[in-house]
Symmetry: C2
Subunit: 677 residues, 2 copies
C-alpha cells in the first residue's frame, strides 16, 4: 500500500514538475518510479545528511533526461532539494537544471548525465574505484570501503558506443558491485525501439560476462524487482543487469507511447492521472504525509548505517592509523606534502628526449608517492609510456595478471569508455585518474572529455604523438584541428610542454588542478632541453624564454616541439641582424589566468608576434599578428621530411619572420592584449 | 601448392616492405595473408582495370595499420600500385602512406582506415548502400547492383564503440551482403587480449542478429576458410562474421607475440623467414612468376565478370532506359538539372521560423527530386526535422515498417556509427548521405567526421539545437566549443544559416560540394527572415547585409541566430548616432575561398569589427577586433533568459560596440585581411 502510494506520488509529482516548467521529460520518471522507489527504499545505503560519505552506495541515472525522477527522490529523502527547487525545474539559476549536473550544488548527483551512454559508463568507473579502494584500504574486520553502484539506464544509453566500451570492460573486470537496472520501455524518440534497436541486449551483456535478470512487469511487481536486485547483489564476481519491462509515462492517457517522452502531459491528462491514482486533481506538488514519512524512515536507516560506519572507522583509525590517515588525506583532496620536489629537473646539457618519455620519467618518480594516481592507456601502453616501473595491473583478484589493488588499468582500445570511466573514478573520490592515447584519438572521447570539464572532474589526459612529428603513421593519425578543439572547451587546461622541465610543470598543473581536467600533449620525437625553462614558469602558461639585449624586432611564440624550432629560428635571424624574442607558451589557459602586467611582459605592445605551432593556426590571432602552422591534413613520411614539407624548419620560419618584420617597418602593430574587452 | 606459395609470398613481401620503410606493421599482414589470399582469389569480384565498376565487391581492411597487406594484394592483382610504390611505403609523396587513404589516387582503397573501428563501420555503410541501390535499380533479370562487402578486422576494431553501434544496426537491418573476417590473433599492443578483451565476440554478434562462423586454423586451413565464407554468402538475411584463429607475424621467430605487431622484424628474422618458406634469403621484393600468374588469372576472372555486367547493363539500358539513365547520372556525380530552382525563397514578410524547420522545408522540396539523398537521424527525427513528407524508411524488406528502397534511415542513438556509416554510403557511390543529431553531439562522432573530411566524402551533417538557444535542456546539451572544433578541421565546410534564404543556400553548398563534407548548423528557436539574404550571397560565405549611407563606425559580423541580433543592435546604435555595418557570415570556409577584393569589401580596412556568436569566441580574432560570445558552459533556462544572461541582447551588444568604437576613436584599427601571410 505504502509502496504503491509512494510510486504514484512520484509519478504525479513528475507530471506536475514538468508541467510547471513547461518543458522536460515526464515519461521516464513515471515509468521508472517503481524501480527508483524500490532501489532507494530497500537497497541504496546513503545518508542524506552526510552526502559525501565515502562508502555510500552510488546512484546514477544514466537516462539523465528523466532527472525529475532523481530530483524527486532526493527531495523526498531529505537531500538539499526543496519543493521550491522542484518548482524551479529548468529555470534560470535553479538547482534543478534540465539534466543532472554533478558539482552543481545538489547532493546526491554523483555524475552529470543526459548525454546518452555517459552515466552507465561513469557507473563502471564508480564501481572500479570502489573495488580498488576496498582492496587498498580494507583490512580483516574493517570493510571501510564497501558499497554498490546502482544505475538506471534506458534504451538510448544502451545504443551508444561509449556504453559498449565501458560495459565490456566492466565484464572483463568482474565488477560485482555494479548493478544496472534497464528500463525496457520499448520507446525511443523515433518511436518503437523496433525501428532500429532489436538486438538481444541481455545476450550481449552475457557475452561481456555479466549476470542478467529479467522482470516482466516493472510497472507493478515491486516484490519481484526487489528479489531480482537481491539476486544481483549476491553475484559478487560479475556486474549485473536487470531488464525491467515498463510502460513509459505510466498512468498518462498516452502511456506507452513516444508522445509522453519529452513534453508536458497537459493539464487535462494530469488531472485525470491524479484522479486515477486517488489524488486530488486540484492539488499540485502534493506529497502525502505517509510518503514523506516512508522516505524519512529510509533516510534514518541510512543515517544509522552511517553511524555504524563512523564507529567502524574510529576503530580502524586505532587499529590501522597509517591507512586511516592516508584515506583521510585523500578524501580531503590533499596531495602528499612536498610532492613537487619529486619532479625531475633538467638542464640543457641533458640529452634530447621525447616528451612522452619525459612524462614516463615523471610517472616513475611520482607514482609511488601519489598512490591516488590510477589509470592507464587505451591499448597503447608501449607508445604512450604510461606504465611506471613496478606498476601492478588493475585486474580481478585471482586472475594471475593483477589485482584490484593494482593501479594500472588496461582500458583496451576504448578511448571514449576510458574517458567516461575516468570521470566516474574521479567522482567516487580519493582518486586521481588518468587516461592515455594518441592525441588524435582524443576526438573519439570528446563526449566524455567535455563532461570532465563541465562536471569539474580532475582527470588527466596523457596524449602522445601530438603532431606530424609522429611521422610515418600519416594523416589518419596526425592531429591538426585537435588542440584548437580542446582549447575551445571551458574549464579545461591544456599543456603542450617543450622539454623536460615543462613536462614536469605540466604534471604540477595537472595534479594541482583539483577541479578541472588537464590534457597533457606530448611528442613522439626527441626534443632538446631548453635554457631557461622551469616548472614555475610553465605554471604561468607562457614565459619569455630568451630575448635580445636592447631592442627586439619580433616575438616568436611557440608550444611544445616548436619552441626549440623558435630558438633555432631566433639564432638564424640574429645572424641577419633581426632581433627576436622567444616565448614558450605551453598553456593558453594558465596564461589567461595571469595578471595583466605579467601578460603584457610576455607579449609587450609594439612588437609583432609570430606564432609557430605544427597544427591548425585557428585561434592564434588572439596572440599573434601572423602564424606559421598547418591548416591542411598531414602526410605520411619520416618526421624531419614532414617538418620541412610544411615549412616548419628554421630557414622557412625565418623567412616568414622577416616578412612580418618588414610588414611592420615604420608602423606599430596593434596590441593583442590591450583591447577594450 | 600455389595457394601456399601465394600466401608465403605475401608474408615475405610484407616483411620486406616494412623493413625497407623501417616503420610499419608486419604482424597483421603476415597473419592475415591466408584470408586475404582466399578472399581475393575465390570471392572478391572486381576488375582492376575498371576499379570504379559500381557493382564490384568492396573490400575494407578495417585494421588499417596492416595496410601493407592491402597494398600487396592490389599490386599483385594489377591495380595501380607498382613494386616501386611498395618500396616507397610510408615515404614522402608516395602512394602508399602509413594507413590506407581513400581518394588518394590508389584504386581499390574504398575507405580510409587505421583509426580503429572505422573500417568495419564504413563496411556497414557500403553494404547498406548496395542493398538500397539494388532495391532501387534492379529489375527482374537485371541484377545491375549485386555485390558483397568484405571486411577484415582485428581485435582493436571490435573494442571500439563506433563499431558496436554500426554492427548492431547492421544486424537489425539484416544486411546479408556484409561478410566480416575477424583476425583473432589474441594480440593487442598491450599484449595478450586477455588483459582487457575477454568478451565472447561471436555471442555478442549473435545478440545483434548476425550469422557467425569459426575457423580454428586460419594459418593453414584455406579450404575450411573458403567453405566458411561460402556458407556466410549463402546466409542472405543476416550479416556474417567469421572468427579466424591466426598467428600474428606468422613465420617470424617471434610469431604470436606483440613484438611483431608494429615494428620491422629485422634483417636476420626476415632472412630466416625466407629460408623457412623456401625463398632466396638474399632476394628482396621478390614475387615468383607463378604467384603473379595466379593473381593475373584472378584479375582476368574479374575482367570477364565485368564484361558480363557491361553486356547486362546494355540490355538494361534497352529494357529500362530511364532507370539506366538515372543510375548513370548518379554514378557520374551529376545533380539533377536545375535542382537549385527547387530551393525555397523567403522575404522578410514571412513569419519567423526555426532554421531546423526551414531545413525541413528544403528537404520536403528536394528529397523527391534528388533521389540520391539518403539519410536520417540518430533517434532525434522529431527534433532534427529530417524526415521529409512521404519518406519511406530504409528497413529490411518484409519488416512491415519500410523497405530497402526506402531512403530514411533510423540510425538509432548511434552518432559515431551514423557518421561512419555515412562515409561508407558515400564511398559506395551514387548516393549522398546525411546524418542528423543535436549539434552538441557531433562531438560523439568526430572520429568519423574527421575521416569524412580526410577522405573527401560528401556527407551532409544536419545539426540542430545549435546554441544556448535550445534553452532548458541546459549545458549538457548546449554547444560552446563545438563550432570552433569543426571549423578547425581541414576540407570541411560549416554553414550556420541565419534565415530561410541562407538555409536554402546552405543546402546549395552541401549538395554541390561533391568532394567534402558539409555541416549545417541550425536553431531550435524561431528566427526572422532578413532583408537582403539570398542563396547566392550565402554561397560567398559572408556578405554585407546592411550598411549606413556614408561613413560607418563599426562592422558587426554574426552568424546564424545572432545575425538578427546584429540587425537589432545596429538599429539601436543608429538611434545613438553610431553607424554600423552588418555582415552575415554563415560560412568561414566559403568566405576564405573568395577573391581578396571581395573579402576586403566585406571587411574593409579602417573600420573596427565586432563579432557576435552565441558560443566560444575562439578563432574570431582572425576577422574581428573584439568579440561577443560565451566562453563558459551554458545554463538551463528558457532561451530568451539565457541570451540576456550571457549578454547576447541588443542593448548589451550595443554597449560593447560603443566601447569598441570609442577605443578606436582617433586611430585606425589594424586590418585583419591585409597581413603579409
Amino acid at each position: 500500500m505504502t509502496d504503491q502510494q509512494c510510486i504514484n506520488t512520484i509519478r504525479v509529482l513528475a507530471a506536475d514538475v514538468v508541467q510547471k516548467a513547461n518543458s522536460g521529460h515526464p515519461g521516464a520518471p513515471m515509468g521508472c518510479a517503481p524501480m527508483a522507489h524500490v532501489l532507494f527504499s530497500d537497497f541504496i545505503r546513503a545518508n542524506p545528511a552526510v552526502p559525501d560519505w565515502i562508502s555510500r552506495d552510488r546512484f546514477v541515472l544514466s537516462n539523465g533526461h528523466g532527472c525529475v525522477l532523481q530530483y524527486i527522490m532526493l527531495h523526498l529523502l531529505g537531500y538539499n532539494l526543496s519543493m521550491d527547487d522542484l518548482k524551479q525545474f529548468r529555470q534560470l539559476n535553479s538547482k534543478t537544471p534540465g539534466h543532472p549536473e554533478a558539482n552543481h550544488g545538489v547532493h546526491g548527483i554523483e555524475v552529470s548525465t543526459g548525454p546518452l551512454g555517459q552515466g552507465i559508463s561513469n557507473a563502471v568507473g564508480l564501481a572500479l574505484a570502489e573495488a580498488h579502494l576496498a582492496a587498498t584500504f580494507n583490512r580483516p574486520g574493517f570493510d571501510i570501503i564497501s558499497n554498490y553502484t546502482y544505475a538506471i539506464t534506458g534504451d538510448g544509453c544502451l545504443q551508444e558506443g561509449v556504453q559498449a566500451e565501458a560495459v565490456s570492460l566492466a565484464g572483463h573486470l568482474k565488477l560485482g558491485n555494479l548493478i544496472v537496472l534497464y528500463d525496457d520501455n520499448h520507446i525511443t524518440i523515433d518511436g518503437d525501439t523496433n525501428v532500429g534497436f532489436t538486438e538481444d541486449v541481455l545476450q550481449r551483456f552475457e557475452a561481456y560476462g555479466w549476470h542478467t535478470e529479467v522482470l516482466a512487469d516493472g510497472d507493478h511487481d515491486v516484490v519481484g524487482l526487489a528479489a531480482a536486485i537481491a539476486r544481483a547483489k549476491a553475484v559478487t564476481d560479475k556486474p549485473s543487469i536487470i531488464k525491467i519491462r515498463t510502460t513509459i509515462g505510466f498512468g498518462s492517457v498516452n502511456q506507452g507511447e513516444e508522445k509522453v517522452h519529452g513534453a508536458p502531459l497537459g493539464a487535462k491528462d494530469i488531472s485525470d492521472l491524479k484522479t486515477k491514482f486517488g489524488f486530488d486533481p486540484e492539488a499540485h506538488f502534493h506529497v502525502p504525509y505517509e510518503v514523506y514519512a516512508h522516505y524519512r524512515a529510509v533516510a534514518a536507516k541510512g543515517a544509522a548505517a552511517y553511524a555504524g560506519w563512523v564507529k567502524l572507522f574510529d576503530e580502524y583509525k586505532a587499529a590501522h592509523p597509517d591507512l586511516a590517515a592516508e584515506l583521510s588525506r585523500r578524501i580531503a583532496g590533499e596531495l602528499p606534502a612536498n610532492w613537487r620536489s619529486l619532479l625531475p629537473v633538467y638542464s640543457p646539457a641533458d640529452p634530447a628526449v621525447a616528451t612522452r618519455k619525459l612524462s614516463e620519467n615523471v610517472l616513475n618518480k611520482i607514482a609511488l608517492a601519489i598512490p591516488e594516481l590510477i589509470g592507464g592507456s587505451a591499448d597503447l601502453t608501449g607508445s604512450n609510456l604510461t606504465r611506471w616501473k613496478g606498476a601492478v595491473d588493475f585486474q580481478p583478484d585471482g586472475s594471475g595478471i593483477g589485482t584490484y589493488a593494482g593501479r594500472y588499468i588496461r582500458f583496451g582500445v576504448r578511448e571514449h569508455g576510458m574517458a567516461a570511466i575516468c570521470n566516474g573514478i574521479n567522482a567516487y573520490g580519493a582518486l586521481i585518474p588518468f587516461g592515455a592515447t594518441f592525441f588524435n584519438f582524443i576526438s573519439y572521447a570528446l563526449g566524455a572529455v567535455r563532461l570532465s570539464a563541465l562536471s569539474k572532474h580532475q582527470v588527466i589526459y596523457i596524449m602522445t604523438h601530438d603532431s606530424i612529428g609522429l611521422g610515418e603513421d600519416g594523416p589518419t593519425h596526425q592531429p591538426i584541428e585537435t588542440l584548437a578543439s580542446i582549447r575551445a572547451l571551458p574549464n579545461l587546461v591544456t599543456l603542450r610542454p617543450a622539454d623536460g622541465n615543462e613536462t614536469s610543470g605540466a604534471y604540477a598543473a595537472a595534479l594541482e588542478n583539483r577541479h578541472r581536467p588537464t590534457v597533457i600533449i606530448l611528442t613522439r620525437q626527441n626534443l632538446p632541453h631548453l635554457a631557461g625553462s622551469t616548472v614555475e614558469k610553465t605554471l604561468r602558461g607562457a614565459y619569455v624564454l630568451s630575448q635580445p639585449e636592447g631592442h627586439a624586432d619580433i616575438t616568436l611564440v611557440a608550444t611544445g616541439s616548436e619552441v626549440s624550432l623558435a630558438v633555432s629560428t631566433a639564432a638564424l635571424l640574429a645572424n641577419e641582424g633581426v632581433h627576436a624574442r622567444v616565448v614558450s607558451m605551453p598553456s593558453w589557459e594558465l596564461f589567461e589566468e595571469q595578471p595583466h602586467d605579467y601578460k603584457l611582459s610576455v607579449f609587450p605592445d609594439g612588437i609583432p608576434t609570430l606564432s609557430i605551432e605544427a597544427m591548425t593556426t585557428l585561434g592564434w590571432s588572439k596572440y599573434a599578428h601572423a602564424s606559421v602552422g598547418i591548416d591542411t591534413f598531414g602526410a605520411s613520411a619520416p618526421a624531419p621530411l614532414l617538418f620541412k614539407k610544411f615549412g616548419l624548419v628554421p630557414d622557412a620560419v625565418a623567412e616568414k619572420a622577416k616578412k612580418l618584420v618588414a610588414f611592420y617597418k615604420g608602423r606599430v602593430p596593434e596590441s593583442k592584449l590591450n583591447l577594450p574587452f
